[in-house]
Structures are given as C-alpha cells and as structure tokens.
Symmetry: C2
Subunit: 185 residues, 2 copies
C-alpha cells in the first residue's frame, strides 16, 4: 500500500477553468502510464448533440472550484482505498463544452485490469453523484439548468426532504448551498 504522500504524487486532480481549450486527455493517460502496470482504463464524458429530442448546441459547467477540486480529490482517495491502483487522474472542465468535446475525464492504471476498470467506473459514478458541478444545457431554441438525478438522489433523500421540497427545488443550481462535508466517501 502506498503511503499518503506517494499516493498524492501519483494522483492528478484538476478542475479546468473555463476556456476554449479542450481537455488534454492524452496528458492524463500519459500521467497514469507506468511500467509496473498492465492496465489503463479511461472514461471520457462528452457533450452529446441531443437531449430528449432537443438539439443541444453546447453544455456549460459551473462550480466553486476549490470545493469541486477538494471533493474530486476525496473521490480519488476513496478509489485508492478500495482498489490497488498505481496512478489515477481525474479532471473536469468548466465553462462551455461543445458537442463531441470532453467535459470530464478519468484515467486509472493498475497491475491487474480489474482494479483500473472498477476504479474508473467508481470515480465517474462518484463525480456525478457527489462533486458539486452544475450543468446547463444550451439548445438551439433555449437553455436549461440540467437536473443531475444522481446528485439529487444522493443529497435529497426522503429522510431529509419532502416531496414538495424536491419538486420546488428540483434544479441543480437550486441546491448549490446544500453541498457540504456531510457526504460519505
């Protein structure tokens, strides 16, 4: 098991501020490549051109960067605690992301493939469910803050909110203030 310091050196966490530059996915893959490893698994989340029949022009992501970065780091640490990973990179882009471009990228390397594959899936699932980044879908005829159902499922359980609250506060951006450290990793 790597020490905390070693693990930190072998983990790359980035919230990439709004710009026109695409995520440099090759750099993340290069970061996790390691002669001790036999496996690299990656996941790339891209903007797709339609949502529920509407034509999507671009997505726009917003976050309070220090909070998003901290939570993304916690997700990576949780992945390391569960699987035997050598190197791990996770990045999320903010701002406008055009159709076909990457908004989020995860890369994991390990000696045996089961660890990299499982960790990669875990990290993207946890990003969706627990990293406070908000998404607006921009259509050719309007725009809308997008509900992230996975995030809501995690943070608005029936035990703490009523159906009425969930209905009236259903949008992603309505819950910005609800993000705090009580999340489980």
């Amino acid at each position: 098991m790597a020490t905390a310091e070693e693990a930190e050196k072998k983990t790359l966490v980035e919230i990439v501020e709004a710009s026109c530059e695409p995520l440099d996915t090759a750099r993340y893959v290069a970061f996790v490549r390691d002669p001790a490893c036999g496996a690299i698994a990656t996941f790339e989340g891209t903007t797709r051109d339609t949502f529920e029949g509407r034509s999507v022009v671009e997505l726009r992501y917003e976050a309070y960067t220090p909070m998003a970065r901290r939570r993304l780091g916690e997700v990576c640490a949780a992945a390391r605690s569960r699987w035997a990973l050598e190197r791990l990179a996770a990045a999320h882009r903010l701002g406008r992301v055009g159709v076909g471009e990457a908004s989020v990228f995860v890369a994991a390397s390990s000696v045996h493939r089961v660890d990299a594959l499982a960790a990669c899936e875990f990290v993207i699932d946890e990003i969706k469910a627990s990293v406070p980044i908000w998404k607006k879908e921009v259509y050719d005829n309007g725009e809308m803050w997008k509900e992230n159902r996975e995030f809501l499922d995690r943070h608005l359980s029936p035990a703490t909110t009523t159906t009425t609250e969930r209905t009236t506060k259903g949008g992603c951006c309505a819950h910005k203030e609800k993000i705090s450290d009580e999340r489980s990793t």
Copy 2:
C-alpha cells in the same frame, strides 16, 4: 437497434501484425467519438516490467491472424447485442511489445455511460478468455510461453479434460489446435 450493416461500419476490429510501431490508440478513440454519444470508455493492456518477481524485458504475441480477427469480431458483435453501443473498436498487436507499450486496446462509445463501461470490460474479458493469441514473456534471464488462465478456464473445463491433461498441456502454445468454433459468445 442498428442494422448489421450499420453496426459493421461502426465497428473497427484489427489484429496488427508484428512491427515496431505502437498501437495508434488515438485513432481508435477518434473512431468511436460520435456527436450522438455522451460516453467513451477505453481499456489498454500494457506490458508490465515484472511478473512474479522476474524482470520482464518485453512480451511477444503470436496468432493465426484470420482466426484471431474473426473471433475478435465475434466478441464485438456479442458486446453490441448486449449493450446499446454507438461505436466500438478493438485491436490487438502481434510481435514484440516493450514494457509500458500497449498490446491490446478497446474503445466503446454510447449515449449513456453504463453501456460503454460495461461493454469495454466485457470485450477485454472475452479477448483474454476466447481470442486465440499466445503470449511469451521475455525476461532478462530467459523466456517462457505464458499460461493464460482465463483462456484455459474457458477451453479446458473439467468435463472435457482430466487434471493430468491440464498439467501436461498447461502452456498457452500447447493448445493452439484446440481453438475452434464451438466457443459460446
């Protein structure tokens, strides 16, 4: 559901003959990128520098290419039948593969991430278990054909072979003639 012809156009299967060129993984990722998709999952199998404490210099892969390509195509078709994939690429390199380099690469794209992630894992598992490609490990002090336990588990079940047969025919290369079309997909 895509027609068989559409699926074929959106599936790339390659057995790359022995050369000094690395697998062009960026080309496979570009092949699966699609504006209709929100997810790209990849898996890269690389040569690692040690095996059971021995220092590995390189791996060497051999195959009867038409048979390996056909089986790889069947694996991709099986993945398409199980998950909603848009595009799929699977490639295996033959010949010498140095430490840190890729011998096998899988890329899958889909509208929702669960399909690409699951299919990517399925394809690499099936490649290991059913595509007839043989691996020799070259150490700094010798070389050895490598048993592929997953392949043997699939093709030498207790119902058809005895323990003695498995012991005496345990090497990958000893089973070349055993590959045939009776495999299940």
